[in-house]
């Protein structure tokens, strides 16, 4: 969106080869420049990558889809049961709907609360406040922790009987069961997740903001834009590549969420997530591999929804 605004004004100023007209005729020339031996080398190297890609990404994916129509315990024979696994997941597996809801809640929380907060902190820190280095380190610090560690910290804070939070709030006679009450524990966990995610988003935006040409803001100010307008109309659009990265990271984080709830209570009792259900069913002594694969396929379809939307946007905007 920002690029299309920029392009008409930008074209005359930039050298012709990076403009839309200069690019087209280059492609055939480039491939002609590769000699026969090079083509072989590229083919071998690319072929290797493709083979590995098929073996480790497409193979398992297709196997999951195929297995999702089966009933198999990992040892005996595979029996084909058609769509029965999907029927059971939807109609006869109580943790499924909560898990789906929690994944979407996770996405909404990261996208609508944590990410804007991260951007907000980045903007504040970009203003060169006093001690901004200090704030920056403090907010970024949780990012270096793995989510499993954050899960352990969360337990120390939220534990009903021995946790820090209930002591601080003075709720010792009627303690709140932050992690055991299925109505509130997801929020307690999301707060811990947000704590980490905000720092991550902040550092990305901060890097982007540092790279914004100050003359942009100056000229906006000269044109009479106030600070709010300058940010939304000038700075934010130039952050577009960062926005895309943050968006992708947010979606990935929400869909792959697993470690923190697994560390807290193995993803049960109000903390169900699709990834946990997949693990619970597939890993283990007498695995329900077919059933677990079906949940994995559902997660795959949801991910594909985001991936396809993203790719469509990128591909539509690219060939300008």
């Amino acid at each position: 969106m920002a690029m299309s605004d920029l392009a008409p004004t930008g074209t005359p100023a930039t050298p012709p080869e990076s403009g839309p007209r200069g690019r087209r005729p280059r492609r055939p020339r480039r491939s002609r420049r590769l000699a026969g031996r090079d083509v072989v080398v590229v083919a071998v190297l690319l072929g290797l990558a493709v083979v590995i890609d098929i073996a480790f990404i497409w193979g398992p994916t297709i196997a999951s889809v195929v297995l999702s129509f089966s009933s198999w315990n990992g040892v005996g024979d595979i029996t084909w049961v058609g769509g029965q696994n999907y029927d059971n997941i939807v109609n006869n597996y109580p943790p499924f709907w909560p898990a789906l809801r929690h994944n979407l809640l996770w996405l909404a929380f990261l996208g609508l609360v944590a990410t804007p907060l991260g951007l907000f902190f980045a903007v504040l820190l970009d203003k060169e406040l006093r001690f901004s280095r200090f704030y920056q380190s403090v907010i970024y610090m949780p990012v270096v922790l793995s989510l499993a560690i954050v899960g352990f910290i969360a337990q120390l804070v939220y534990s009903r009987d021995y946790g820090a939070l209930n002591s601080i709030l003075g709720r010792t006679s009627h303690p709140t069961d932050w992690l055991g009450d299925p109505n509130i524990n997801i929020w307690a966990v999301l707060a811990a997740v947000g704590w980490k995610h905000i720092g991550y988003v902040m550092i990305l935006y901060l890097a982007g903001l540092k790279a914004v040409d100050p003359s942009l803001k100056e000229s906006a100010a000269i044109d009479g834009a106030n600070e709010f307008q300058t940010f939304w109309r000038v700075t934010f659009p130039t952050l577009r590549p960062i926005n895309i990265i943050v968006l992708v990271i947010t979606v990935i984080e929400a869909l792959r969420a697993f470690d923190i709830v697994y560390a807290i209570n193995r993803g049960r009792n109000g903390l169900e997530l699709l990834s946990v259900l997949v693990t619970d069913n597939i890993i283990g002594e007498a695995s329900r591999i077919g059933f677990g694969s079906a949940i994995a396929v559902i997660l795959l379809v949801i991910s594909l929804g985001f991936i396809v939307t993203y790719l469509v946007r990128i591909l539509r905007e690219e060939p300008r």
């Binding site: 590769l34 009450d181 990265i245």
Partner: protein, 451 residues
């Protein structure tokens, strides 16, 4: 609105993230070749590493003198204890045992693949359905001949727990740890409580503890499994061991009036349980017993791990009270840990010889030196070194008419973990919808027990 200076500013796509190729600069032949080679190298490297790792286990089938031993005793104390047990065998039989220790949870989670791949000759495992499952998948070797040599040392209940569905033995029991209602002697003495025999007495005691400002029953189910112990005992006391076993095997209906009665009785007891159980680990609940905030705790003998050595002498227990006079206190829940021989063993005769050694009281006592919360399975194991509590545990199990293994060992593991854990947790959250709960369990059970 965009200022005209945009042309001079670094285009957004140049700000450093060319990850998405928005404006990749002219791609020369050299950078293309270099990039491709680097990329291929980076991808091929892990694959090459993985390929190297695969062959490790293949060189171990040297003479028949060596037996390999797959162990899940990964914590330091039991690990050294197990090593000393196997050293005892090595010096006695002048053979070598190659120990392959794997992290406890990893071992359990990978057991399927482990047994189908290149398993060790002897491996550590559990009695009950968990053992029978692998026996019936013919992943475990029949060791009935070992039993005819060592069987006289074990009670019938233990033999039953070591027997597969086909009537053959597949398992050698090593030690067990009974579940019972634990309490602190000093608390009971100080307040004049006496261990209850029946459910009514139990409830009366809970009521008294409440008025004394104690939390009657410590309770935790964050880990998902501890509440299973309560269910097992209530079911075995109300409906008897045989019904319990059939229910676990998927042969009785969860919507039956018997099961509903279990949950109804449990609901009557829940007000005496520590609230907020789903957010508490068993260790935290045990600490409330240690701190004399809770009066009693239904758990395995491993609750002693949370007590200091000095305090442990103060720990005592009583058997779960009688509910139905037909079944009295006949059944005891006492999970048994022991050993099995894998079907794919390279040295089966050596493995069986090792099993015979592991079935001796000496081997058991050597191990128990370091874990004072367990009890040896062998009849002739010398109990003089036992603590008071261990002796009482041994009596409890010795006097039991039936021994159950624990819900997640007595039924299909997938049913226990994917159905029973969430169901019991939701019962603890909302004990009032028993009908909906048992219907949901029954519906899910039907989909699992078909395979």
């Amino acid at each position: 609105m965009v200022p005209s200076s945009a042309g001079r500013s670094p285009a957004p796509s140049r700000v450093g993230f060319s990850l998405f190729g928005a404006g990749s600069p002219a791609l020369s032949r050299r950078t293309l070749m270099r990039g491709t080679a680097l990329g291929a190298g980076a991808l091929a490297l892990p694959a090459a590493l993985a390929a190297c790792g695969g062959d490790d286990d293949k060189g171990s089938d040297s003479g028949s003198k060596e037996v390999s031993f797959g162990s899940n005793y990964s914590d330091p104390v039991p690990k050294t204890a197990m090593e000393s047990v196997l050293k005892g065998y090595e010096s006695k039989a002048s053979k070598t045992v190659k120990i392959n220790t794997v992290d406890h949870n990893t071992f359990q989670e990978n057991i399927n693949r482990y047994l189908q791949g290149t398993p060790d000759d002897v491996f550590t495992w559990f009695a009950g359905y968990r053992m029978q499952f692998f026996a019936s998948q013919s992943l475990a070797a029949d060791i009935s001949d070992v039993w005819s040599a060592v069987g006289s040392g074990f009670t019938d209940a233990l033999k039953k727990a070591s027997t597969g569905e086909d009537g053959k033995q597949y398992f050698v029991p090593f030690y067990y740890y009974p579940w019972a209602v634990f309490y602190r002697k000093s608390v009971f003495q100080q307040r004049g409580y006496t261990p209850p025999k029946t459910l009514d007495e139990f409830k009366a005691l809970c009521e008294k503890m409440k008025t004394d400002g104690l939390n009657p029953i410590a309770f935790a189910d964050k880990d998902g499994w501890p509440a299973m112990g309560t269910f097992d005992y209530l079911n075995m006391r109300i409906n008897g061991y045989d019904f319990h076993v059939k229910l676990m095997a998927g042969k009785e209906s969860w919507t039956s009036s018997q099961v509903k009665q279990v949950f109804d009785t449990w609901r009557g007891l829940l007000p005496y349980h520590q609230p907020g159980a789903n957010g508490r680990t068993w260790q935290e609940a045990a600490q409330s017993l240690v701190a004399k905030q809770s009066g009693m705790y239904l758990l395995g003998a491993f609750v002693g791990e949370q007590f200091t050595d000095a305090d442990r002498a103060d720990l005592d227990f009583f058997a779960f009270p009688e509910i139905n006079s037909q079944y009295k206190q006949d059944a005891v829940e006492a999970p048994i840990d022991g050993f099995m021989v894998s079907k794919k063993a390279k040295n089966t005769s050596g493995a069986k010889d090792l099993m015979k050694y592991l079935a001796t009281p000496d081997a058991e006592l050597l191990f128990l030196k370091s874990s004072p919360n367990n009890v040896a399975t062998h009849k002739d194991a010398d109990t003089s070194g036992y603590s008071q509590l261990q002796k009482k545990c041994a009596e409890l199990v010795g006097g039991a008419k039936q021994v159950s293994q624990f819900l997640d060992r007595d039924t299909r593991p997938d049913f226990a973990s994917t159905v029973m854990i969430p169901s019991l947790q939701s019962f603890i959250n909302n004990p009032n919808d028993v009908d909906g709960l048992v219907k949901s369990i029954e519906d899910q059970k039907k989909t699992i027990f078909t395979t």
